[in-house]
Symmetry: C2
Subunit: 114 residues, 2 copies
């Protein structure tokens, strides 16, 4: 969540950008659930609030992991899509999901995420 790098370590740098409880959930929603609109992200069961969602989407855009485009001008509607760097987070999310499924009881892939 900050552009300041604490060290040159790639793990530390990645955590500087993505190390919080919300950012990767937005990426998950885009990558596995095909979500693209502000209101769609709000529907996820974790219940992100609007101000956090707006700030994370802005930051993801600034990082170049997400592209924001108007997909309709009348009315003005926005959509958010993963860029190639954003899509390349798939192995990270995959590894996290595999770990969670194995190590945390009662976790499961939601039906719509398959």
């Amino acid at each position: 969540m900050t552009l300041h790098r604490r060290s040159p370590c790639p793990i530390a740098c990645t955590l500087d950008l993505l190390g919080d409880r919300w950012t990767l959930l937005i990426v998950r929603d885009m990558m596995f659930l095909g979500k693209q609109r502000f209101e769609e992200f709000l529907e996820s069961p974790e219940g992100i609030s609007t101000n956090i969602l707006a700030s994370r989407l802005k930051f993801l855009e600034e990082m170049g992991l997400v592209e924001k485009q108007p997909y309709s001008n009348h009315p003005r509607r926005m959509n958010y899509q993963l860029t190639e760097p954003g899509k390349s987070l798939r192995p990270v999310l995959k590894a996290i999901a595999v770990w969670g499924l194995k190590q945390i009881p009662e976790t499961r892939i939601p039906d719509d995420e398959i």
Copy 2:
């Protein structure tokens, strides 16, 4: 950083436990640098502060990812070691490191981490 689960999704649950800027750096230090003692973790270049380190170590222990043992009783010295569930985070850290190296400029694996 909280035991409360926002949803049954394994990605969300993993982020509930590990989704912050410090926890996985401690795991990195144990896994790749062989660090085991409180003062060793403090030496890492990211500069974690003592209160945060103590709270994260406690939480990692409560989660069963780390075991704390006295390795000497006179004087009393503690060491921290990864449990099997903790060690199973290796693919997650690997994927994060690969992503960071590829996508974030000027990142590199520190010499002592090879």
